[in-house]
């Protein structure tokens, strides 16, 4: 007999539960003025870590600002910013081990930077040049790096969620004492893969941190048109999973929650769900215009909750950052990004031969034949294929 049928907790009058039955508080450690709440328990953080976190935030902001500009100038085809969500991303990645495997959605490039992805690597990907690790095959911002344990982004939403469960299971089998970390938005949590992935992780006892960036919008769809329940966190409890809701614009709260989530996941071989409440300050992507679905007032209100500014005030209070150094840091990254753009856009695109590589472990005879025929065709009409005609 199934254990579920043995439940003897019965009542004898009809009574329904509703979403208020589950009280889910928000963890907040850092106040708007950069001081911490009196009763708050701080995460493990020292000056070195704090500086690395802030440095990553500044780089990401500069990168986003410059590359959105580059997209507007037509230098790259597409871009997505992380603006407003830096604390959620960097605060969480900073709690991880370098070999914890990250499966991101797409708006988490700050995590990749934190792990050491270089400015040149970002540019090579965005310009689809021959130095791109992805060999120029995917749209800008679809980064990935085996060396940095950051699985390559795929556009379909939520597919990474059950995959993270599988990665978590593999880490457990391999006895590595590492976790898989899966980022996704509250919109992606409506996909079937969300349910499949979280349920399987709980049932199969996989060390995975599911990190939801609840940023208010899935492109134009606000959360109230996305779900009627008590956010995403309530679902974690339903799956029988340790769950926490944090202020996603509070670097210290995100760091503290993720540090403890990681320790729990490894100790118990179990998943944890973190719902970070944040706001997408920018557009969904370079192809989107938020003025069609939300007000300037709303955006202005959230600007007041800028996570990077809040953390900066804390750093200044701690004496770990001076305003003058901050200005220099911004300047350094502006120059670095601009210089890297100029280099990357001059690097040639991958050779045409790459088009049939990696479909299978080795190109099949049919693929080789198709490539040979394609080359012959390009030789006939070189002007129609300017990217490859000159270097067949």
């Amino acid at each position: 007999m199934s254990k579920a049928t043995l439940n003897t907790d019965t009542v004898h009058r009809v009574g329904f539960l509703d979403k208020a039955s589950l009280h889910i508080p928000i963890l907040r450690i850092l106040q708007a003025d950069g001081t911490t709440y009196e009763t708050a328990v701080l995460p493990v953080i020292d000056e070195t870590l704090a500086t690395k976190i802030y440095d990553t935030c500044v780089f990401t902001r500069v990168l986003d600002e410059r590359m959105l500009g580059a997209q507007r100038q037509g230098r790259i085809s597409f871009y997505m910013t992380c603006t407003g969500e830096e604390a959620a991303i960097v605060g969480s990645v900073a709690a991880l081990d370098q070999e914890d495997v990250i499966l991101a959605q797409y708006r988490e490039h700050a995590a990749l930077r934190y792990r050491g992805f270089t400015t040149e690597q970002f540019m090579n990907q965005m310009f689809s040049n021959e130095k791109d690790l992805g060999k120029g095959r995917q749209m800008p911002i679809h980064y990935g790096s085996a060396a940095l344990h950051y699985q390559t982004i795929s556009s379909p939403l939520a597919t990474q969620i059950p995959q993270a469960t599988g990665v978590g299971y593999s880490l457990k089998m391999q006895g590595k004492r590492k976790v898989a970390v899966c980022y996704f938005g509250e919109g992606a949590a409506s996909e079937g893969d969300f349910h499949a992935g979280l349920n399987m992780a709980a049932v199969l006892k996989c060390p995975v941190i599911f990190f939801c960036r609840n940023n208010g919008y899935a492109i134009s769809t606000p959360t109230e048109e996305q779900f009627a329940g008590n956010g995403i966190a309530s679902r974690g409890v339903g799956y029988g999973m340790h769950t926490i809701r944090v202020d996603g614009n509070d670097m210290l709260a995100v760091l503290a929650a993720t540090q403890q989530a990681r320790a729990y996941a490894i100790e118990h071989n179990a998943p944890v769900l973190i719902e970070a409440m944040t706001y997408r300050l920018g557009a969904h992507s370079s192809s989107d215009d938020p003025s069609g679905y939300r007000s300037k007032d709303e955006e202005a209100k959230w600007q007041q909750h800028d996570p990077v500014k809040r953390f900066k005030l804390w750093l200044i209070n701690k004496g770990w950052l001076a305003e003058a150094d901050d200005v220099k840091l911004h300047e350094k990254y502006r120059e670095e990004v601009l210089a890297a753009v100029k280099v990357a856009e001059k690097i040639p695109v991958p050779m045409l031969d790459e088009i049939i590589e990696d479909v299978y472990d080795k190109p099949t005879p049919v693929l080789k034949k198709q490539l040979a025929e394609l080359k012959e065709h390009i030789k006939k009409y070189p002007q129609a294929y300017p990217k490859s005609a000159g270097r067949l």
Partner: protein, 325 residues
Amino acid sequence: MAEMNMLQAVNEALSIAMQADERMVVFGEDVGHFGGVFRATSGLQEKFGRARCFNTPLTEQGIAGFANGLASNGMTAVAEIQFADYIFPAFDQIVNEAAKFRYRSGNEFNVGSLVFRTPYGGGIAGGHYHSQSPEAYFTQTPGLKVVVPRNPEQAKGLLLASIRDKNPVIFFEPKRLYRASVGEVPAGDYEIELGKAEVVREGKDITLVAWGAQMEILEKAAEMAAKEGISCEVIDLRTLAPWDIDTVADSVKKTGRLLINHEAPLTGGFAGEIAATIQQECFLYLESPISRVCGLDTPYPLIHEKEYMPDAFKTFEAIKASVTF
């Protein structure tokens, strides 16, 4: 050599592969202690432990996503989708994820050590949802290999090769033959190369091509034709993606005629691909139009299953029509 049915051959292949590769895990709905609804994974949990052979919750998209995650991180994943009719919730994870994992990452990551085993096909009174042959949905996806065995010996060798292949494989098992097909199977570990068709009967008048359970239909039709003095060459394609064009083309150059048989509906089926390629490769050798004997363009029916099926009689008629064209 030992006599066994196809389920036993599949089970033996899984056991041998798990013994040889401690990274290999087998999972899916009911595959654990119960051994799967067809018993293909029988005894594996007892032999290799619950961590390596286990039940999953009832979610095909979850099974496929989980499999991708495992294979992306150094494991060998062999997932069972209980019926091929239920593979569609996993379509996105297979077609958009597994198939493109290596390509989209520039080979930073891959899920090559991954097999989806799934029983397919009709003839068991299974109606719409326990009878389909969805192979053609997958043959159009670059990055996937699609393999179908015809008997126990082939099932064991092809499955071992699929598990060890460095690409994701969908392994369609003809469930009507699970217990019906019994034959001698070599002992121990052996592989049958993927991507190679096999000429199982030599002939000179017409080439017949099929795979999986339809191979026995071709054999019957070839026998019927032989009594009328028609000599059929019969080819088991075995791997549909990537398929062995040369073996089929060489045969058609010899016979001048081609018939393709599959259970799946005619329109958009894999026979269309074979026909188009062979008319390109063998145009001047063809003495009659390429013939396709396939399922009807209907959902798979229950009570008219026999009428739907591209059986030996329909195949025999098409053979005669081709040689008298």
